[in-house]
Subunit: 236 residues, 2 copies
Protein backbone atom coordinates (compact mmCIF):
# COMPACT_ATOMS: atom_id res chain seq x y z
CA UNK A 1 0.00 0.00 0.00
CA UNK A 2 1.22 3.52 -0.77
CA UNK A 3 2.64 5.07 2.45
CA UNK A 4 0.52 8.19 1.97
CA UNK A 5 -2.75 6.29 1.63
CA UNK A 6 -4.65 6.24 4.90
CA UNK A 7 -6.80 3.12 5.28
CA UNK A 8 -9.26 2.41 8.06
CA UNK A 9 -11.79 -0.39 8.50
CA UNK A 10 -14.86 0.06 10.73
CA UNK A 11 -17.35 -2.59 11.84
CA UNK A 12 -21.08 -2.19 12.53
CA UNK A 13 -22.09 -5.13 14.69
CA UNK A 14 -25.87 -5.32 14.19
CA UNK A 15 -25.61 -5.90 10.44
CA UNK A 16 -21.97 -7.12 10.57
CA UNK A 17 -21.07 -4.47 8.00
CA UNK A 18 -17.60 -3.19 7.25
CA UNK A 19 -17.24 0.47 6.35
CA UNK A 20 -13.96 1.69 4.86
CA UNK A 21 -12.21 5.02 4.88
CA UNK A 22 -9.53 5.86 2.33
CA UNK A 23 -7.64 9.15 2.37
CA UNK A 24 -4.66 10.90 0.90
CA UNK A 25 -2.46 11.92 3.82
CA UNK A 26 -1.34 14.97 1.83
CA UNK A 27 -4.32 17.27 1.54
CA UNK A 28 -6.72 14.94 3.34
CA UNK A 29 -9.22 14.22 0.56
CA UNK A 30 -11.03 11.03 1.43
CA UNK A 31 -13.80 8.59 0.53
CA UNK A 32 -16.07 6.41 2.66
CA UNK A 33 -17.30 3.09 1.32
CA UNK A 34 -20.53 1.52 2.63
CA UNK A 35 -21.24 3.67 5.68
CA UNK A 36 -24.12 2.54 7.92
CA UNK A 37 -26.76 4.99 9.12
CA UNK A 38 -26.36 4.02 12.79
CA UNK A 39 -22.60 4.63 12.86
CA UNK A 40 -22.43 7.94 11.00
CA UNK A 41 -21.36 9.85 14.11
CA UNK A 42 -18.50 7.45 14.82
CA UNK A 43 -17.28 7.55 11.23
CA UNK A 44 -17.51 11.33 10.83
CA UNK A 45 -15.81 11.83 14.17
CA UNK A 46 -12.90 9.74 12.91
CA UNK A 47 -12.79 11.74 9.68
CA UNK A 48 -12.76 14.96 11.70
CA UNK A 49 -10.05 13.83 14.11
CA UNK A 50 -7.83 12.82 11.19
CA UNK A 51 -8.41 16.26 9.69
CA UNK A 52 -9.84 14.84 6.46
CA UNK A 53 -12.23 16.22 3.90
CA UNK A 54 -14.74 13.71 2.53
CA UNK A 55 -15.18 14.05 -1.22
CA UNK A 56 -17.18 10.89 -2.04
CA UNK A 57 -19.44 8.46 -0.21
CA UNK A 58 -19.67 5.21 -2.12
CA UNK A 59 -22.11 2.33 -1.83
CA UNK A 60 -21.12 -0.99 -3.36
CA UNK A 61 -24.84 -1.67 -3.92
CA UNK A 62 -28.37 -1.07 -2.64
CA UNK A 63 -28.12 -2.86 0.70
CA UNK A 64 -31.01 -4.95 2.02
CA UNK A 65 -29.74 -5.45 5.56
CA UNK A 66 -29.01 -1.92 6.71
CA UNK A 67 -29.76 1.69 5.83
CA UNK A 68 -26.90 3.49 4.12
CA UNK A 69 -25.33 6.51 5.75
CA UNK A 70 -24.60 8.06 2.35
CA UNK A 71 -27.38 10.62 2.09
CA UNK A 72 -27.05 11.90 5.65
CA UNK A 73 -23.26 12.14 5.30
CA UNK A 74 -23.75 14.12 2.10
CA UNK A 75 -26.06 16.45 3.99
CA UNK A 76 -23.58 16.98 6.80
CA UNK A 77 -20.32 17.18 4.82
CA UNK A 78 -21.09 18.10 1.23
CA UNK A 79 -19.48 14.91 -0.05
CA UNK A 80 -20.95 13.49 -3.27
CA UNK A 81 -22.73 10.14 -3.19
CA UNK A 82 -21.88 7.59 -5.85
CA UNK A 83 -22.92 4.10 -6.82
CA UNK A 84 -23.58 2.01 -9.89
CA UNK A 85 -25.78 3.49 -12.62
CA UNK A 86 -27.43 0.05 -12.75
CA UNK A 87 -28.65 0.45 -9.17
CA UNK A 88 -31.27 2.94 -10.35
CA UNK A 89 -30.83 5.26 -7.38
CA UNK A 90 -31.95 8.61 -8.76
CA UNK A 91 -30.74 10.67 -5.81
CA UNK A 92 -27.08 9.68 -6.26
CA UNK A 93 -24.78 12.50 -7.35
CA UNK A 94 -22.59 10.25 -9.45
CA UNK A 95 -23.76 7.19 -11.40
CA UNK A 96 -20.84 4.90 -12.08
CA UNK A 97 -20.09 2.64 -15.03
CA UNK A 98 -17.50 -0.09 -15.28
CA UNK A 99 -14.03 1.42 -15.42
CA UNK A 100 -15.01 4.85 -14.12
CA UNK A 101 -12.56 6.41 -11.70
CA UNK A 102 -13.12 8.79 -8.79
CA UNK A 103 -10.21 10.85 -7.52
CA UNK A 104 -9.40 11.75 -3.92
CA UNK A 105 -6.16 13.67 -3.71
CA UNK A 106 -3.51 11.80 -5.67
CA UNK A 107 -5.39 8.48 -5.55
CA UNK A 108 -8.16 6.94 -7.59
CA UNK A 109 -10.94 4.47 -6.88
CA UNK A 110 -11.78 2.41 -9.96
CA UNK A 111 -15.30 1.02 -10.34
CA UNK A 112 -15.71 -2.60 -11.42
CA UNK A 113 -19.18 -3.80 -12.28
CA UNK A 114 -19.69 -7.07 -10.40
CA UNK A 115 -23.43 -7.83 -10.64
CA UNK A 116 -25.05 -11.02 -9.38
CA UNK A 117 -25.90 -10.38 -5.74
CA UNK A 118 -27.87 -7.44 -7.13
CA UNK A 119 -28.05 -5.87 -10.57
CA UNK A 120 -26.18 -2.80 -9.47
CA UNK A 121 -23.30 -4.33 -7.50
CA UNK A 122 -19.92 -2.70 -7.92
CA UNK A 123 -16.53 -3.47 -6.51
CA UNK A 124 -14.04 -0.66 -5.98
CA UNK A 125 -10.31 -1.06 -6.58
CA UNK A 126 -7.68 1.18 -5.00
CA UNK A 127 -3.94 0.67 -4.55
CA UNK A 128 -3.84 -3.11 -4.13
CA UNK A 129 -7.15 -3.41 -2.32
CA UNK A 130 -10.53 -4.37 -3.72
CA UNK A 131 -13.74 -3.50 -1.88
CA UNK A 132 -16.01 -6.29 -3.01
CA UNK A 133 -19.30 -5.43 -1.34
CA UNK A 134 -21.42 -8.60 -1.19
CA UNK A 135 -20.08 -10.04 -4.45
CA UNK A 136 -17.15 -11.78 -2.81
CA UNK A 137 -17.03 -12.36 0.93
CA UNK A 138 -14.24 -14.09 2.85
CA UNK A 139 -14.79 -17.78 2.08
CA UNK A 140 -18.30 -16.92 0.92
CA UNK A 141 -20.42 -14.61 -1.23
CA UNK A 142 -23.64 -12.65 -1.13
CA UNK A 143 -26.98 -14.37 -1.68
CA UNK A 144 -28.59 -14.27 -5.12
CA UNK A 145 -32.25 -14.92 -4.35
CA UNK A 146 -33.70 -11.39 -4.43
CA UNK A 147 -33.01 -7.88 -5.82
CA UNK A 148 -32.50 -9.28 -9.34
CA UNK A 149 -29.95 -11.69 -7.96
CA UNK A 150 -28.42 -14.15 -10.39
CA UNK A 151 -25.97 -16.88 -9.44
CA UNK A 152 -24.83 -17.15 -13.06
CA UNK A 153 -23.96 -13.46 -13.21
CA UNK A 154 -22.28 -13.53 -9.80
CA UNK A 155 -20.09 -16.45 -10.85
CA UNK A 156 -19.02 -14.57 -13.98
CA UNK A 157 -18.41 -11.33 -12.06
CA UNK A 158 -16.18 -13.03 -9.52
CA UNK A 159 -14.28 -15.13 -12.04
CA UNK A 160 -13.93 -12.56 -14.80
CA UNK A 161 -13.48 -9.38 -12.77
CA UNK A 162 -12.26 -10.18 -9.27
CA UNK A 163 -10.24 -13.34 -9.80
CA UNK A 164 -8.53 -11.51 -12.70
CA UNK A 165 -6.85 -9.18 -10.17
CA UNK A 166 -3.37 -10.07 -8.88
CA UNK A 167 -3.37 -12.83 -6.27
CA UNK A 168 -1.93 -10.55 -3.61
CA UNK A 169 -4.79 -8.02 -3.94
CA UNK A 170 -6.35 -7.52 -0.52
CA UNK A 171 -10.07 -8.40 -0.44
CA UNK A 172 -12.10 -6.03 1.76
CA UNK A 173 -15.70 -7.26 1.87
CA UNK A 174 -18.85 -5.46 3.00
CA UNK A 175 -19.58 -8.09 5.67
CA UNK A 176 -18.15 -10.84 7.72
CA UNK A 177 -20.01 -12.92 10.27
CA UNK A 178 -17.11 -14.86 11.79
CA UNK A 179 -14.65 -12.15 12.80
CA UNK A 180 -12.49 -12.38 9.68
CA UNK A 181 -11.41 -8.95 8.52
CA UNK A 182 -9.71 -9.33 5.14
CA UNK A 183 -8.53 -11.90 2.62
CA UNK A 184 -6.68 -11.91 -0.67
CA UNK A 185 -7.73 -12.81 -4.20
CA UNK A 186 -5.25 -15.70 -4.13
CA UNK A 187 -6.72 -17.15 -0.95
CA UNK A 188 -10.30 -16.86 -2.23
CA UNK A 189 -9.38 -18.51 -5.54
CA UNK A 190 -7.98 -21.41 -3.58
CA UNK A 191 -10.21 -21.70 -0.53
CA UNK A 192 -13.57 -20.04 -1.22
CA UNK A 193 -15.88 -23.03 -0.83
CA UNK A 194 -18.51 -21.61 -3.19
CA UNK A 195 -16.50 -19.91 -5.89
CA UNK A 196 -12.91 -21.09 -5.61
CA UNK A 197 -10.98 -24.34 -5.85
CA UNK A 198 -12.28 -25.35 -9.24
CA UNK A 199 -16.01 -25.04 -8.54
CA UNK A 200 -17.87 -24.94 -11.86
CA UNK A 201 -20.62 -22.48 -12.68
CA UNK A 202 -23.13 -25.32 -12.61
CA UNK A 203 -22.06 -26.39 -9.14
CA UNK A 204 -22.24 -22.80 -7.90
CA UNK A 205 -25.69 -22.18 -9.36
CA UNK A 206 -27.05 -25.39 -7.78
CA UNK A 207 -25.47 -24.57 -4.43
CA UNK A 208 -26.95 -21.06 -4.40
CA UNK A 209 -30.40 -22.36 -5.36
CA UNK A 210 -30.39 -24.69 -2.37
CA UNK A 211 -29.49 -22.18 0.35
CA UNK A 212 -33.06 -21.32 1.42
CA UNK A 213 -32.09 -18.33 3.55
CA UNK A 214 -34.43 -16.27 5.70
CA UNK A 215 -35.10 -12.71 4.53
CA UNK A 216 -32.88 -10.00 6.05
CA UNK A 217 -34.65 -8.52 9.07
CA UNK A 218 -34.48 -4.96 7.78
CA UNK A 219 -35.23 -5.54 4.10
CA UNK A 220 -38.60 -3.77 4.08
CA UNK A 221 -37.11 -0.72 5.74
CA UNK A 222 -33.69 -0.80 4.10
CA UNK A 223 -34.57 -1.16 0.43
CA UNK A 224 -36.91 1.84 0.11
CA UNK A 225 -34.62 3.92 2.34
CA UNK A 226 -31.55 3.05 0.31
CA UNK A 227 -33.27 3.82 -2.99
CA UNK A 228 -33.57 7.32 -1.46
CA UNK A 229 -29.88 7.43 -0.42
CA UNK A 230 -30.87 6.63 3.16
CA UNK A 231 -32.40 10.06 3.59
CA UNK A 232 -35.95 8.88 4.13
CA UNK A 233 -36.97 5.97 6.28
CA UNK A 234 -33.74 5.96 8.23
CA UNK A 235 -33.91 5.92 12.00
CA UNK A 236 -35.36 9.24 13.25
Amino acid sequence: MHPDLIFHQFFESESSTYTYLLADRAGGESVLIDPVYETIDRDLNWVRELGLKLVYVLDTHVHADHVTGAGEIRRRTGAKTALSASAGVACADVSLRDGDELAFGRFRVRALETPGHTDGCMSFYCEGRVFTGDALLIRGCGRTDFQQGSAERLYDSVHQKLFALPDETRVCPAHDYKGLTASTIGLEKEFNPRLGSGKTKGEFVRLMSELRLAQPKKIHEALPANMACGEKGGPP
Copy 2:
Protein backbone atom coordinates in the same frame (compact mmCIF):
# COMPACT_ATOMS: atom_id res chain seq x y z
CA MET B 1 4.95 -2.54 6.89
CA HIS B 2 7.52 -4.89 5.38
CA PRO B 3 6.02 -6.46 2.21
CA ASP B 4 6.92 -9.97 3.40
CA LEU B 5 5.19 -9.57 6.75
CA ILE B 6 1.75 -11.15 6.71
CA PHE B 7 -0.66 -9.44 9.08
CA HIS B 8 -4.19 -10.54 9.92
CA GLN B 9 -6.67 -9.27 12.49
CA PHE B 10 -9.47 -11.51 13.81
CA PHE B 11 -12.44 -10.52 15.99
CA GLU B 12 -14.23 -12.60 18.64
CA SER B 13 -17.62 -11.00 19.14
CA GLU B 14 -18.69 -12.30 22.57
CA SER B 15 -15.72 -10.73 24.37
CA SER B 16 -14.98 -8.17 21.60
CA THR B 17 -11.41 -9.46 21.47
CA TYR B 18 -8.96 -8.94 18.64
CA THR B 19 -6.54 -11.75 17.87
CA TYR B 20 -3.58 -11.05 15.59
CA LEU B 21 -1.56 -13.24 13.29
CA LEU B 22 1.91 -12.20 12.12
CA ALA B 23 3.95 -14.30 9.72
CA ASP B 24 7.02 -14.22 7.54
CA ARG B 25 5.84 -14.93 4.00
CA ALA B 26 9.18 -16.63 3.29
CA GLY B 27 9.29 -19.80 5.35
CA GLY B 28 5.91 -19.24 7.00
CA GLU B 29 6.98 -18.94 10.63
CA SER B 30 4.25 -17.13 12.51
CA VAL B 31 2.95 -15.93 15.88
CA LEU B 32 -0.56 -15.52 17.24
CA ILE B 33 -1.32 -12.78 19.77
CA ASP B 34 -4.26 -13.11 22.18
CA PRO B 35 -6.16 -16.06 20.69
CA VAL B 36 -9.55 -16.83 22.25
CA TYR B 37 -10.51 -20.40 23.21
CA GLU B 38 -13.81 -20.30 21.29
CA THR B 39 -12.20 -19.28 18.00
CA ILE B 40 -9.21 -21.63 17.97
CA ASP B 41 -10.59 -23.64 15.04
CA ARG B 42 -11.11 -20.53 12.93
CA ASP B 43 -7.65 -19.19 13.68
CA LEU B 44 -5.83 -22.48 13.11
CA ASN B 45 -7.74 -23.05 9.91
CA TRP B 46 -6.50 -19.69 8.66
CA VAL B 47 -2.94 -20.58 9.67
CA ARG B 48 -3.25 -23.89 7.83
CA GLU B 49 -4.71 -22.37 4.67
CA LEU B 50 -1.89 -19.84 4.54
CA GLY B 51 0.59 -22.68 4.88
CA LEU B 52 2.13 -21.22 8.04
CA LYS B 53 3.94 -22.78 10.97
CA LEU B 54 3.09 -21.29 14.36
CA VAL B 55 6.16 -20.84 16.51
CA TYR B 56 4.77 -18.71 19.38
CA VAL B 57 1.41 -18.00 20.95
CA LEU B 58 1.54 -14.76 22.93
CA ASP B 59 -0.81 -13.35 25.52
CA THR B 60 -0.55 -9.67 26.31
CA HIS B 61 -1.77 -10.48 29.85
CA VAL B 62 -3.90 -12.81 31.96
CA HIS B 63 -7.31 -11.98 30.55
CA ALA B 64 -10.35 -11.70 32.82
CA ASP B 65 -13.02 -11.63 30.11
CA HIS B 66 -12.25 -14.70 28.02
CA VAL B 67 -10.29 -17.94 28.17
CA THR B 68 -7.04 -17.87 26.21
CA GLY B 69 -6.55 -20.27 23.32
CA ALA B 70 -2.81 -20.46 24.05
CA GLY B 71 -2.57 -23.80 25.82
CA GLU B 72 -4.85 -25.66 23.45
CA ILE B 73 -3.05 -24.19 20.43
CA ARG B 74 0.26 -25.32 21.93
CA ARG B 75 -1.20 -28.82 22.31
CA ARG B 76 -2.39 -28.92 18.71
CA THR B 77 0.55 -27.24 16.97
CA GLY B 78 3.63 -27.47 19.16
CA ALA B 79 3.96 -23.67 19.27
CA LYS B 80 5.47 -22.25 22.45
CA THR B 81 3.34 -20.09 24.74
CA ALA B 82 4.80 -16.83 26.00
CA LEU B 83 3.77 -13.98 28.24
CA SER B 84 5.19 -11.66 30.87
CA ALA B 85 7.24 -13.19 33.66
CA SER B 86 5.31 -10.85 35.96
CA ALA B 87 2.05 -12.60 35.08
CA GLY B 88 3.10 -15.58 37.21
CA VAL B 89 1.74 -18.16 34.77
CA ALA B 90 3.88 -21.21 35.55
CA CYS B 91 2.74 -23.25 32.56
CA ALA B 92 4.07 -20.72 29.99
CA ASP B 93 7.00 -21.97 27.92
CA VAL B 94 8.62 -18.54 27.73
CA SER B 95 8.54 -15.88 30.44
CA LEU B 96 9.24 -12.50 28.95
CA ARG B 97 11.01 -9.46 30.39
CA ASP B 98 11.05 -5.93 29.06
CA GLY B 99 13.09 -5.76 25.87
CA ASP B 100 13.06 -9.49 25.16
CA GLU B 101 12.61 -10.43 21.52
CA LEU B 102 11.00 -13.47 19.94
CA ALA B 103 11.90 -14.38 16.36
CA PHE B 104 9.57 -15.72 13.67
CA GLY B 105 11.43 -16.09 10.39
CA ARG B 106 13.25 -12.85 9.66
CA PHE B 107 11.06 -10.79 11.98
CA ARG B 108 11.08 -10.08 15.69
CA VAL B 109 8.43 -9.27 18.26
CA ARG B 110 9.81 -7.05 21.02
CA ALA B 111 8.23 -7.22 24.48
CA LEU B 112 7.46 -3.96 26.27
CA GLU B 113 6.37 -4.15 29.89
CA THR B 114 3.25 -1.98 30.19
CA PRO B 115 1.76 -2.82 33.61
CA GLY B 116 -1.21 -1.04 35.12
CA HIS B 117 -4.29 -2.87 33.82
CA THR B 118 -2.64 -5.92 35.43
CA ASP B 119 0.81 -6.50 36.90
CA GLY B 120 1.86 -8.69 34.00
CA CYS B 121 0.67 -6.62 31.03
CA MET B 122 2.95 -6.50 28.04
CA SER B 123 2.72 -4.78 24.71
CA PHE B 124 4.39 -6.31 21.69
CA TYR B 125 6.10 -4.26 18.99
CA CYS B 126 6.71 -5.52 15.47
CA GLU B 127 7.50 -3.61 12.28
CA GLY B 128 5.63 -0.39 12.94
CA ARG B 129 2.75 -1.96 14.84
CA VAL B 130 2.27 -2.19 18.58
CA PHE B 131 -0.09 -4.74 20.09
CA THR B 132 -1.16 -2.98 23.24
CA GLY B 133 -3.42 -5.54 24.93
CA ASP B 134 -5.64 -3.70 27.41
CA ALA B 135 -3.04 -1.06 28.29
CA LEU B 136 -4.04 1.27 25.48
CA LEU B 137 -7.35 0.90 23.65
CA ILE B 138 -8.63 3.08 20.83
CA ARG B 139 -9.73 6.28 22.58
CA GLY B 140 -9.71 4.33 25.87
CA CYS B 141 -7.75 1.98 28.11
CA GLY B 142 -8.22 -1.11 30.24
CA ARG B 143 -9.73 -0.84 33.72
CA THR B 144 -7.44 -0.75 36.76
CA ASP B 145 -9.71 -1.91 39.55
CA PHE B 146 -8.71 -5.59 39.90
CA GLN B 147 -5.83 -8.00 39.13
CA GLN B 148 -3.32 -5.69 40.83
CA GLY B 149 -4.50 -2.87 38.62
CA SER B 150 -2.96 0.55 39.20
CA ALA B 151 -3.98 3.71 37.40
CA GLU B 152 -0.65 5.33 38.34
CA ARG B 153 1.34 2.50 36.75
CA LEU B 154 -0.89 2.41 33.68
CA TYR B 155 -0.42 6.14 33.13
CA ASP B 156 3.36 5.73 33.33
CA SER B 157 3.34 2.68 31.04
CA VAL B 158 1.36 4.46 28.36
CA HIS B 159 3.27 7.73 28.58
CA GLN B 160 6.77 6.33 29.00
CA LYS B 161 6.58 3.23 26.81
CA LEU B 162 3.80 3.57 24.27
CA PHE B 163 3.68 7.30 23.66
CA ALA B 164 7.48 7.14 23.23
CA LEU B 165 6.97 5.18 19.99
CA PRO B 166 6.84 7.08 16.69
CA ASP B 167 3.51 8.83 16.07
CA GLU B 168 2.81 6.77 12.96
CA THR B 169 3.06 3.46 14.87
CA ARG B 170 -0.15 1.52 14.32
CA VAL B 171 -1.98 0.70 17.58
CA CYS B 172 -3.56 -2.77 17.56
CA PRO B 173 -5.51 -3.25 20.79
CA ALA B 174 -6.87 -6.42 22.39
CA HIS B 175 -10.41 -5.11 22.32
CA ASP B 176 -12.75 -2.63 20.80
CA TYR B 177 -16.43 -2.23 21.58
CA LYS B 178 -17.42 0.30 18.91
CA GLY B 179 -16.20 -1.29 15.70
CA LEU B 180 -12.92 0.60 15.53
CA THR B 181 -10.11 -1.64 14.35
CA ALA B 182 -6.84 0.25 14.72
CA SER B 183 -5.39 3.61 15.65
CA THR B 184 -1.97 5.24 15.79
CA ILE B 185 0.19 6.47 18.64
CA GLY B 186 -0.15 10.00 17.27
CA LEU B 187 -3.95 9.84 17.28
CA GLU B 188 -4.09 8.43 20.81
CA LYS B 189 -1.69 11.08 22.10
CA GLU B 190 -4.02 13.70 20.69
CA PHE B 191 -7.49 12.26 21.10
CA ASN B 192 -7.48 9.57 23.80
CA PRO B 193 -9.91 11.12 26.28
CA ARG B 194 -8.34 9.40 29.29
CA LEU B 195 -4.63 9.41 28.53
CA GLY B 196 -4.02 11.87 25.73
CA SER B 197 -4.45 15.57 25.06
CA GLY B 198 -2.57 16.76 28.11
CA LYS B 199 -4.42 14.76 30.77
CA THR B 200 -2.30 14.74 33.93
CA LYS B 201 -1.62 11.62 35.99
CA GLY B 202 -3.80 13.05 38.77
CA GLU B 203 -6.73 13.57 36.41
CA PHE B 204 -6.32 10.05 35.03
CA VAL B 205 -6.16 8.43 38.48
CA ARG B 206 -9.28 10.26 39.60
CA LEU B 207 -11.14 9.38 36.41
CA MET B 208 -10.25 5.67 36.74
CA SER B 209 -11.28 5.61 40.40
CA GLU B 210 -14.73 6.90 39.50
CA LEU B 211 -15.60 4.40 36.74
CA ARG B 212 -17.48 1.89 38.95
CA LEU B 213 -17.62 -0.86 36.33
CA ALA B 214 -19.41 -4.18 36.68
CA GLN B 215 -17.22 -7.27 36.91
CA PRO B 216 -16.51 -9.07 33.62
CA LYS B 217 -19.06 -11.86 33.17
CA LYS B 218 -16.45 -14.58 32.79
CA ILE B 219 -13.92 -13.47 35.40
CA HIS B 220 -14.42 -16.44 37.75
CA GLU B 221 -13.95 -18.88 34.91
CA ALA B 222 -11.34 -16.98 32.93
CA LEU B 223 -8.78 -16.10 35.58
CA PRO B 224 -8.14 -19.62 36.92
CA ALA B 225 -8.28 -21.04 33.38
CA ASN B 226 -5.81 -18.48 32.08
CA MET B 227 -3.39 -19.05 34.97
CA ALA B 228 -3.30 -22.61 33.57
CA CYS B 229 -2.74 -21.41 29.96
CA GLY B 230 -6.41 -22.03 29.17
CA GLU B 231 -5.92 -25.78 29.35
CA LYS B 232 -8.20 -26.36 32.31
CA GLY B 233 -11.57 -24.78 32.82
CA GLY B 234 -12.03 -23.86 29.17
CA PRO B 235 -15.25 -24.82 27.45
CA PRO B 236 -15.45 -28.63 27.18
